[in-house]
């Protein structure tokens, strides 16, 4: 995991050499990106357990958090097999340093209020569900299988988040204000989900990964429909944050990891 020293988010020729010549392999990094996204967002959803506005939502958020953690387990287990250095899902989930995680910044942001949580879920699941559906035709059959299971789960996340975004946006003045604020705050973090670098480019050429740019029109249209029905305004800013996918994270990830990793760090090898 040496790419954390990259000074630029732009792909360089040297990165390609590094990716193809030495480990970690492109597939390993790609699986970490997919798995870490699910792991961090699953953890953020789990933070609602016992704190959701109503019992029904408490259950729904915990269910969806567990869906994501299940996806993370599959991706990280497979990543460990691809890496072939004896690391299992637990080693990858619990025993890496912050700079070794490859999730987008979007999923590590603090959970925020309920509107923030729903809008983030809509933005993430909306695109990721499309990505997973496309990945079901991946030439890597293990990846295709994990994606097929996840796509069904995420389809529900999208519907749930969209229904709430519509009700909150088109609800009271307060809920509208908070939902618009959440959308404005989260929008600059969506660009990173559409980025590709040499890791993806290599795998796209091999028909293992999917180019997210081909998913963009459908995702943006579906999102626009929800935003319109929710009487919200689509943000106009074009600046996009990036860096999580190459290990440059916000300060929030360290705090998240201190909780996520606490048990394994304090009691190494602890079992239930």
């Amino acid at each position: 995991m040496t790419s954390a020293t990259c000074s630029s988010a732009l792909p360089l020729a040297a990165d390609l050499d590094a990716a193809t010549r030495s480990s970690p392999s492109a597939l390993f990094v790609y699986l970490l990106r997919l798995g870490d996204n699910a792991l961090m967002l699953g953890h953020r959803l789990s933070e609602w357990c016992g704190h959701a506005p109503v019992l029904e939502e408490d259950l729904a958020l915990a269910n969806m958090g567990l869906d994501l953690i299940g996806q993370a387990r599959s991706f990280l287990t497979y990543a460990g097999e691809v890496e072939a250095k004896g690391r299992d899902e637990d080693a990858l989930a619990y025993l890496r340093e912050a700079g070794e995680y490859r999730n987008v910044l979007l999923v590590e942001l603090p959970r925020g209020d309920f509107a923030f949580t729903m809008v983030r879920q809509l933005l993430y699941a909306g695109l990721t569900q499309r990505l997973f559906e496309a990945l079901t035709s991946s030439r890597d059959s293990t990846l295709a299988g994990i994606a097929a299971k996840g796509a069904k789960e995420l389809a529900y996340h999208v519907r749930h988040a969209a229904e709430w975004t519509i009700r909150l946006g088109d609800g009271s003045a307060e809920s509208h204000r908070r939902t618009q604020l959440a959308l404005d705050q989260l929008w600059p973090y969506t660009g990173e989900m559409l980025e590709i670098d040499e890791v993806e480019r290599t795998l796209i050429e091999q028909h293992i990964a999917v180019d997210p740019s081909q998913l963009r029109p459908g995702w943006e249209q579906a999102l626009a429909d929800v935003i319109e029905e929710a009487t919200l305004q689509r943000p106009t800013q074009t600046f996009m944050h990036a860096g999580g996918r190459v290990g440059r994270h916000s300060e929030h990830l360290g705090h998240l990891l201190s909780e996520l990793q606490y048990l394994q760090r304090t009691y190494p090898g602890a079992k239930w």
């Binding site: 506005p53 109503v54 019992l55 029904e56 939502e57 259950l59 729904a60 269910n63 529900y156 519907r159 749930h160 229904e163 709430w164 009700r167």
Partner: protein, 95 residues
């Protein structure tokens, strides 16, 4: 709590084995669509069902427990309403 302002819904689930939708419980939700979502999360987490109905609890007219004798007691003495007075021919087998 906002919860108290959300209407109550009754949840019915048809199991994968077929048969009628059975009452499994109730929950609070802002509207019918969200009630279906909550029902899925609260009552169908373990693959219990293939179909869910939700009905506003307020839309259900229930019998008065105080009318129990009036409604049900008379049936207790009408044992001839049970189909137990027939000889079932052996050739019929299981009924």
């Amino acid at each position: 709590m906002t919860e108290t302002s959300w209407p109550l819904w009754e949840v019915f689930i048809r199991t994968r084995n077929g048969g009628p939708h059975r009452h499994v419980g109730s929950l609070h939700a802002v509207d019918a669509t969200m009630a279906l979502h909550h029902a899925r999360d609260a009552y169908a987490r373990r693959g219990e069902g293939v179909s869910i109905w939700v009905v506003l609890s307020a839309a259900i007219t229930a019998s008065d427990p105080g009318d129990r004798d009036l409604l049900f007691e008379p049936a207790a003495t009408k044992i001839y309403r049970h189909p137990t007075f027939y000889e079932v021919p052996d050739d019929v087998g299981h009924m």
